[in-house]
Symmetry: C2
Subunit: 133 residues, 2 copies
Amino acid sequence: MNEVPILKIGSTLLVSIQVELQDDTVLQLQEDLAARITRTGARGVIIDISGLEIVDSFIGRMLASVAAVSRVLDARTVVVGMRPAVAITMVELGLGLHGVQTALDVDRGLALLSPDSGAAEDVLLAAVERDAG
Amino acid sequence: MNEVPILKIGSTLLVSIQVELQDDTVLQLQEDLAARITRTGARGVIIDISGLEIVDSFIGRMLASVAAVSRVLDARTVVVGMRPAVAITMVELGLGLHGVQTALDVDRGLALLSPDSGAAEDVLLAAVERDAG
């Protein structure tokens, strides 16, 4: 029982990490997630880490790599549910989760990934570009 | 790391069971869930069992008991993600998940728990009562 389930909520996939991740579990998860994005046409991936008491560089790399794979499949990744103590430890360790977007909880992650929010971002970008041009 | 995270999606709580449940984990989960329903005013609970390869009478009782506790706190429970092999084994074992509503996946569970679906059910009930009266 070392397979991490991938849940579908509308056009978003949700992965809740609750177990100590091993190398092969991570590889399996990446493969499953890529296959699932392709099959469902999902536009967003939410990774919940509220079950994790420790986020080390291994987990950090895993999250960045999942986000990178999702990105080339045209899906955005948001990491949610980080515990306060985990955030503090990560910063102390110099881990910044670069290239990975975060949100406080699943609700905010879903809001961030909703088509409306994407549209709002596009409008913002357009405005920024217009101002710059 | 034997605490099962409870995720909030709108007015629904989502629990994804991925680990072998022990007695104390189940008690902890029931307490956490009851506290969370009270705190958030959640109207629905979705329990995802897609990570489980076996559902025995212990898990069956746990699901029924979570549903019963949620019910007295005015929240409906839907069990989702049952694997086909699990369903077959459960029926062979004579376990019917009595008193527990099921749905194929999280999406359908959310649809079942949405206020509209509840309203539709009320309308249906009213119609049935009218016809009977």
